[in-house]
Each structure stands twice: as structure tokens, then as C-alpha cells.
């Protein structure tokens, strides 16, 4: 795995010297009774310090799996991970548990989706925040408690010196997510992975949480990976977007590029399925037809082809025979057999009017 990829890695490393996290040709496979699940397939992306990458896609598109792979949280006996994940130059694929434990919570941390189940019901908020701090800095119990109070203040919990001794069930949903954020930021990590951090919250609290993340990012220069299926959330927080489908990246670019001039039929589908506030009320939403493919038995060629409205336009039926690569290498890229001119035409003629 390492020998065959050496030249590419060197090239990729040279090309993205500013990237704090650099993922190259990452594949994650799970062996199950039904067969091998290819949850992530040949995925490459970079995250620069102080920026946010939004990863968007349906359930089962490999967003969470990718990020659990970065933290090394998959069960190694049931998971086969190949490729390269470099965090500040350190290779994480194949790193020992000890090395990963040192990085988790300190250099990279994760904010989970549902803070009610993701926080331990048996330990106080303060203990759970302070524990991470103690583990990585060797601080005393008193110092850890003070640090926990400091972090709770930072994320805007009222009366932090009292609430520090509360249990998660004594917090409201929004406060729990704040506490979760405080916990993940307690050691000033350089990379924070936020896995749908606002899904379980109502809209006003969502906005507060996202603002909080943005503020903390500006203050600490953290790189953030924001996993979500809410395009609105990405539009407001991320600089770059990667759209994932069936474990692969199908479109990648800056927020402006991907949201304003999307070039992939799947991205078109995602954007068309969003309600438009300024549009007429009687226009029905257009969901992406069909269902996500089974990751055990992927369609041949482009995995999106059974759901794609434009595959007849591709000359020679390449959609069902050949998997499109994500091109070009840098900048706004899509994995689609349509020519650049075709994409442009379809987008302007059919898609843009829909988006309003």
C-alpha cells in the first residue's frame, strides 16, 4: 500500500504543502456477512489551516466513515483502510493506537451529531471536558476543572462555574452541543471534525452553534471539516465544498463554485431538492429520483448513472461502462462524463431556472 503510492504521494504532498490535513486515495472497506461494503473509495482532499471544508451528501455516502477513518475510530478487525491520511505530515493510516490516542482530542477532535447520546450520562460535563485536558496536558484535577469552566464560558454557557458540575441530562439540547464543542476544543486542536453538529437542534440554535464554531475558528485558527446534508449550513460556514456520492467525491470546489455554478448532475439534484424561499409556493420540490445505491453492489461505471437524467447525452454510453475521474486535479472539479460545454448548457438551460 505504501510502496505503490510513493511517487503520487510525493507529488500530492508537494502540491499541497499548505494543507494541514491531506487525504490521498483513501478507501475504507468493511467486511460484512453480505459482502464487502466499499464505504469510501479512492477519496482525496485537503484541508488548509483556518478554513472549513464542507462535506455534503446523502446518508450512506461515506461522509462519516471518512472522518471516523481520520480519527482511526473504525474497528481494525472489520475494516480495511488503504491510502494515506496525513495530519501535519504524520501518516495516520496504519499508525499505532498509542500514536492515535495522543492525537485524538489534542491535535484533532470530533464534534458528534447527537450530544445526548455522545456525552456520557454517568459523568458531569466538567469531568468530561476536563478529562480530555488532563489526558493530553497532565493537568491536575483542579486545573482541569478551571479549564472546563473557562471553555464553558467560551461557548456561552451561563453560570459556567455552577453548570460545570451538571450532568448532560440537566442541559438543554443546544447547551449540550455547546458543551460538546467545548469538549472538542479544550486542547486547542488544529483540526476539528464536526459531524452534522446541528442536525439535532432547532433552527435558531443551529445558527448560534454555527456562529460559535466560526468565532472559535477565527480565534484559534482551527481547520474544520463540516459534515452535513444541509446545503444552507455549508453555504454560510465553509470555504470549500466536497459533494460525496457512494463513497466518492463527485464535485469539489469553493462554496461559490459549487453552489452557484454546480457542474455535476447529482449536485444539481441536491440543489433542486431544496425549497426556495423566494420562489412560488405551488412549485413542488424535486427530489433526486431513485435511492442511493448499495455499497456492496455498486452500479458499473458511474455509480450515479441509474439516477442520472442526462446519461443519454454522453456519447458511447460511457456512464455505464467507465467510472469518471474527478477532474481537473485542482480547482472546481467534477466526476462526470458530460463535456464541459454540455454541463454548462444544461446548467444554464435547465437547472438555473429551477434554482431561482
Amino acid at each position: 500500500m505504501t510502496t505503490q503510492a510513493k511517487p503520487e504521494e510525493a507529488a500530492a504532498g508537494g502540491g499541497s504543502s499548505t494543507a494541514f490535513l491531506s487525504v490521498r486515495d483513501l478507501s475504507v472497506r468493511f467486511s460484512t456477512e453480505d459482502g464487502v461494503v466499499r464505504a469510501v473509495d479512492n477519496l482525496s482532499f485537503d484541508v488548509e489551516p483556518g478554513t472549513t471544508l464542507g462535506i455534503v451528501g446523502e446518508s450512506g455516502s461515506g461522509k462519516s466513515v471518512t472522518n471516523l477513518a481520520i480519527l482511526g475510530l473504525h474497528n481494525p478487525e472489520k475494516t480495511d483502510i488503504t491510502g494515506s491520511i496525513k495530519l501535519a505530515g504524520q501518516e495516520l493510516v496504519g499508525a499505532s493506537t498509542k500514536e492515535l490516542e495522543k492525537l485524538r482530542g489534542k491535535t484533532m477532535s470530533m464534534i458528534f451529531q447527537d450530544p445526548l447520546t455522545a456525552l456520557s450520562p454517568f459523568h458531569t460535563i466538567g469531568k468530561q471536558i476536563g478529562e480530555t485536558f488532563r489526558k493530553h496536558t497532565g493537568a491536575s484535577k483542579k486545573e482541569a476543572r478551571d479549564r472546563a469552566i473557562e471553555m464553558l464560558t467560551k461557548v456561552g454557557i451561563p453560570q459556567p462555574n455552577v453548570r460545570v458540575d451538571d450532568y448532560p441530562h440537566q442541559f438543554s439540547g443546544g447547551m449540550r452541543q455547546r458543551a460538546m464543542i467545548a469538549m472538542s476544543l479544550v486542547c486547542n486542536p488544529k483540526l476539528v471534525i464536526a459531524d452534522e453538529p446541528t442536525t439535532a437542534l432547532d433552527v435558531t440554535v443551529q445558527a448560534q452553534i454555527l456562529d460559535l464554531l466560526k468565532d472559535l475558528q477565527q480565534e484559534m485558527g482551527t481547520a474544520i471539516i463540516l459534515i452535513t446534508h444541509d446545503l444552507g449550513v455549508v453555504a454560510n460556514t465553509a470555504q470549500k465544498i466536497m459533494v460525496m456520492y457512494a463513497g466518492r467525491a463527485v464535485e469539489r470546489g469553493t462554496v461559490r463554485e459549487v453552489l452557484k455554478t454546480p457542474q455535476h448532475p447529482y449536485t444539481w439534484g441536491l440543489l433542486s431538492s431544496m425549497p426556495n424561499l423566494s420562489g412560488p409556493v405551488d412549485v413542488p420540490l424535486r427530489p433526486v429520483r431513485g435511492t442511493p445505491p448499495s455499497l456492496i453492489n455498486l452500479p458499473s461505471g458511474c455509480p450515479f448513472n441509474p439516477r442520472c437524467d442526462f446519461r443519454e447525452k454522453v456519447v458511447g454510453g460511457g456512464c455505464t461502462s467507465e467510472r469518471p475521474a474527478l477532474l481537473p486535479e485542482a480547482g472546481h472539479a467534477t466526476a462526470c462524463h458530460l463535456t464541459a460545454a454540455q454541463k454548462q448548457d444544461i446548467f444554464i438551460d435547465q437547472i438555473q431556472p429551477r434554482l431561482g
Binding site: S109, L119, E131, H169
Partner: protein, 328 residues
């Protein structure tokens, strides 16, 4: 906590009162006449009336119940004169055993207590230990061996495993002594060797139970989101296992253990019969066969009291383990 204990204790008294009434009622529902049994095969009608009177059976059922209940607080004098006065707390006189019920219970209880506590210590330590090990080595050889062995042992019944153990350890090899009960105060070594075989058999079966239970609740806890969070924070494997998963699994184990302990202390009928030990369980079955009403009510009340008490203890301990549970 105090409020909880007071409230639950009062509730427990009500439950015990109801249980005693039901036991009384059930006894009179079965077609047995203790007076006739006591009187013997050749029984003159006058003698029967006399016996009925001295046993208190000529009174109405509610009156008999009242005699029993008030006896607990003020004692009871049986009519007829051939039975000694029963001092408070009086749980009645057994006409079959010709002894005070309370004295018999006190006499039998140490056997049951020794049997229970001795095996509980072993099965808790080994059951939880093996279960944790199996959960830790989930899917590996150690787990598979532990799971298979505990399945076999759980499927065994005392009346199968007991005689087998007696044959293997006592009759054919003379390795250990035949089960007997010697008070620990009289002869600690005799107490230990006398109970060794029942302990081994009981512990084997219960260890298997606790292994299975511990393993399954640990495996379940290890898939919890907060366990994953702990790992994502950089907590070491041991700390995740003990501080998070074990903490979660403890609730289930404490609950089941509390109830098991209550049941065991009330008398292990099959175990005691298998090994010929004279504990509460053996007393219960004997009293039933002999239609010994006062003794039967006594044994039932002891068993019920233990179960009720341990239920309260379990709830209190559970609240200590899980901060989400509030006692009120």
C-alpha cells in the same frame, strides 16, 4: 435519599401485609386439615375438636389472621394450655415441629445465608471477570470459549449438576466431604469444607449466568455513542472500558444481582434438597408437605421480606450509579 427510603419502606410494609393475607387465604383454599393430620390415623371426634381448639382452627379465618398479626407485636397465648406462651415478636407455634416458628427460622437461616453469601462472592467475582474478559476479547478465541462454556453451565440444573458433583467429588473419589452445615462460630474449617460442594455447584451455574449477562451488557455498552466519544477524545482502551462501558453495564448487573440475592436468601429449595442441607428452602417444602400453616407463613414472609428489601436496595444503588435516576 432519606425520603425515598422512608417512603419505600412504608410501601414495603404494605406489600408484606398483603402477601401475608394472600398466603393465609391460599392455605385455607387447599383441602388440608392440619388438625386431622395432627390428630393422627385413629382420631376420636372429641379429640379433634380439642385439637382444633388448641390450634385456634375453630375460629374464623379473619380471626386467625388477626391472632397471627397481633402476635407479632404483642405475643400470643394459644388456648388449651399445652403450648408455651409465644412472646412478641411471635410468628406462631408449629404443631408439626413442636417449636416456635421464629426459633426454627432463626435456626435454619444461617445455612441459607452461608450457602448464598459463599457462592455469591465466587460467582460475582468470576462471573463479572469472565464476562468482562469475553467482552474485551469479543469475537476471539477467549470469548468463544467463555461463551460456549457459560452456555453449557447455564443450561445445567442444580438437580443434574448437584448429583454429578457429589458423585465426582465425594462418592467416587472422596476428595471432599458430604455437604453438611456446621455453624462457622463452632468450627470455621468444618463450615467451609461442609459447604464446599454446594458452593462449587451453585457458583458454577451462577458464574455462567453472570458471565453471559456481563458480556452482553458490556458488548452493548461498547457500541454506545458516548464510548466512541471517549475514544475520540484520546482516552486509552482501558479507561474507555472501565470508566465508560463498565459504568454503564454496572446498572444491569446490580439490578439482577439484588433480585437474585433476595431470592437466594429466601431459601434455595432445589439446592438445599439436592444436598440435604436444612435451610429455609428445605423448610418451606417440608412445611408445605406437612400442611404446617404457621411455619409456611413464616417462611413465605422471610422470603418476601428479602425480596422486598433488596428491591429497595437495588433502586437506591441504581440511583447512585446513574445520575439520571432521581429518587423521590
Amino acid at each position: 435519599m432519606l425520603r425515598f427510603l422512608v417512603r419505600r419502606s412504608l410501601g414495603a410494609l404494605v406489600i408484606l401485609l398483603i402477601i401475608s393475607m394472600v398466603t393465609f387465604a391460599l392455605f385455607f383454599a387447599i383441602p388440608a386439615d392440619p388438625a386431622r393430620l395432627y390428630c393422627g390415623k385413629v382420631c376420636s371426634p372429641e379429640n379433634l375438636v380439642l385439637i382444633k381448639h388448641s390450634m385456634g382452627l375453630d375460629q374464623s379465618v379473619p380471626m386467625q389472621y388477626w391472632n397471627w398479626l397481633s402476635g407479632i407485636f404483642v405475643g400470643h397465648t394459644y388456648p388449651g394450655g399445652d403450648v408455651p406462651h409465644c412472646d412478641a415478636p411471635c410468628f406462631g407455634w408449629s404443631f408439626v415441629k413442636k417449636d416456635m416458628v421464629l426459633d426454627t427460622l432463626m435456626d435454619r437461616f444461617p445455612t441459607t445465608l452461608s450457602l448464598t453469601v459463599g457462592s455469591a462472592v465466587v460467582f460475582l467475582i468470576f462471573g463479572i471477570g469472565t464476562g468482562m474478559l469475553a467482552a474485551h476479547k469479543q469475537g476471539k478465541a477467549a470469548d468463544k470459549i467463555a461463551s460456549a462454556a457459560s452456555l453449557v453451565a447455564t443450561s445445567m440444573q442444580i438437580y443434574v449438576a448437584g448429583p454429578l458433583a457429589l458423585w465426582a467429588l465425594v462418592y467416587s473419589t472422596d476428595l471432599l466431604d458430604l455437604p453438611t452445615y456446621v455453624p462457622i462460630t463452632e468450627d470455621p474449617i468444618g463450615w467451609f469444607t461442609g459447604l464446599l460442594v454446594p458452593w462449587i455447584v451453585l457458583s458454577l451455574i451462577w458464574t455462567a449466568n453472570y458471565t453471559r449477562m456481563t458480556r452482553s451488557s458490556m458488548v452493548e455498552q461498547l457500541t454506545e455513542d458516548y464510548v466512541r466519544t471517549a475514544r475520540a477524545k484520546g482516552m486509552s482502551g482501558t479507561s474507555v472500558f472501565m470508566r465508560y462501558a463498565w459504568r454503564g453495564a454496572m446498572g444491569t448487573i446490580v439490578t439482577v444481582f439484588g433480585i437474585d440475592l433476595g431470592v437466594l436468601l429466601g431459601g434455595a429449595i432445589i439446592t438445599e434438597s439436592t444436598f440435604g442441607l436444612h435451610g429455609l428452602g428445605e423448610l418451606a417444602i417440608r412445611s408445605f408437605i406437612d400442611s404446617d400453616l404457621s411455619m409456611l407463613v413464616g417462611v413465605t414472609m422471610v422470603a418476601a421480606t428479602f425480596i422486598v428489601i433488596f428491591n429497595i436496595v437495588v433502586d437506591a444503588v441504581y440511583a447512585l450509579i446513574d445520575p439520571r435516576i432521581r429518587l423521590a
